[in-house]
């Protein structure tokens, strides 16, 4: 299954590379370069985050996580997770490492979905630092407003379906 995913991804890469090559060698070189530079930039960050999340999860007090964020914590846990997501500062390394550590440390999947969805949609610092300077402010606030229920819907769906 995972092998099939890998294969598909790389077939896609080859197809795109061919499409770029057909429009000129320069495009092929530029695309490859952009991708590889991105990869080299991200790899150490992701590596630190992934391995760090494992150790952070180890030292998290399970006895504390389970009642507040565990699968049994229900709506309370989801509300805590959403607030945590909205208030998490920093770039993606921080949000994903915290989410992964919580999941490994005993938080429920719906709660972690609520956390990462809330963090992705309305982490406060990101709205103010990135979105408002680049977009008409009122559209940003409209976007934030209609995003409010979304983490709850995603978490609710996860509870209903019983996955992951």
């Amino acid at each position: 299954m995972m092998l099939a995913v890998d294969l598909m991804l790389w077939l896609f890469v080859v197809a795109l590379a061919l499409a770029a090559a057909m429009r000129g060698r320069l495009l092929l070189v530029q695309g490859t370069r952009a991708g590889v530079i991105d990869f080299l930039h991200l790899l150490p960050r992701i590596g630190i985050g992934v391995i760090g999340a494992g150790y952070i999860a180890e030292i998290l007090p399970r006895a504390l996580i389970a009642p507040w964020l565990g699968a049994e914590s229900g709506l309370t846990g989801i509300v805590i997770a959403v607030l945590g997501g909205a208030l998490t500062p920093g770039g993606p390394v921080v949000g994903f490492a915290i989410g992964a550590a919580a999941l490994k440390g005993g938080a429920g999947a719906p709660q972690v979905i609520a956390y990462s969805t809330a963090w992705a949609l309305y982490a406060v610092h990101r709205l103010v630092l990135y979105e408002v300077p680049m977009m008409p402010a009122r559209v940003v606030w409209l976007r934030a407003l209609v995003s409010l229920p979304l983490p709850f819907i995603a978490a609710g769906a996860a509870i209903l379906i019983g996955k992951p």
């Binding site: 952009a34 760090g52 680049m134 008409p136």
Partner: protein
Amino acid sequence: MNQPTPQRRRRRAFDWSTAVIAVLSGSAALAVYWRDGAERFLAVLDTDLLLFAYMVPKVLAGCLIGGFVALLLPREQVARWVGHESGMTGLLIAMAFGFILPGGPFTIYPIAAAFLLIGADAGTVVAFIVSWTLIGYTRALVWELPFFGADFVFWRVVMALPLPILAGLLARLAVRAGFPVKSTGPTDKAP
């Protein structure tokens, strides 16, 4: 022949987020070593290194796909497609581009602002941003997969699939109910 516009580089070798996580991780690793001994320390490292190594080819593929799509799909063209659609089709197309377009906030928000300039309604723009945020493949592939594993990410994305459309519809409702999207006109910021 459209020359790809060079993206604004915001690359620093050092960033605070990573530094903070590195310090936290280092302390946690030391604590595990000190509390549980070398065996446990190595066991954790082993599990996570394996997971990470498993994901590296996917991360590389994700980055390359992003690099090529950014070049092959000129943003002016995308803006034209999205700007002239309306109704449900507009939302669906916006969602599709949110899924396809690679890049971070520095590429996505200017594109969204361009949609507005060209005439897309606020609902379409909201659907686009929410789609990029929640179901964009580069984000899921490059970031989420190494951290959470395939099963979790797959289901997280499935739960998120209806959300961009829902957000777009809610935004249109809010605008119809009087949310002041159109503001001071020329002073509105656009890139």
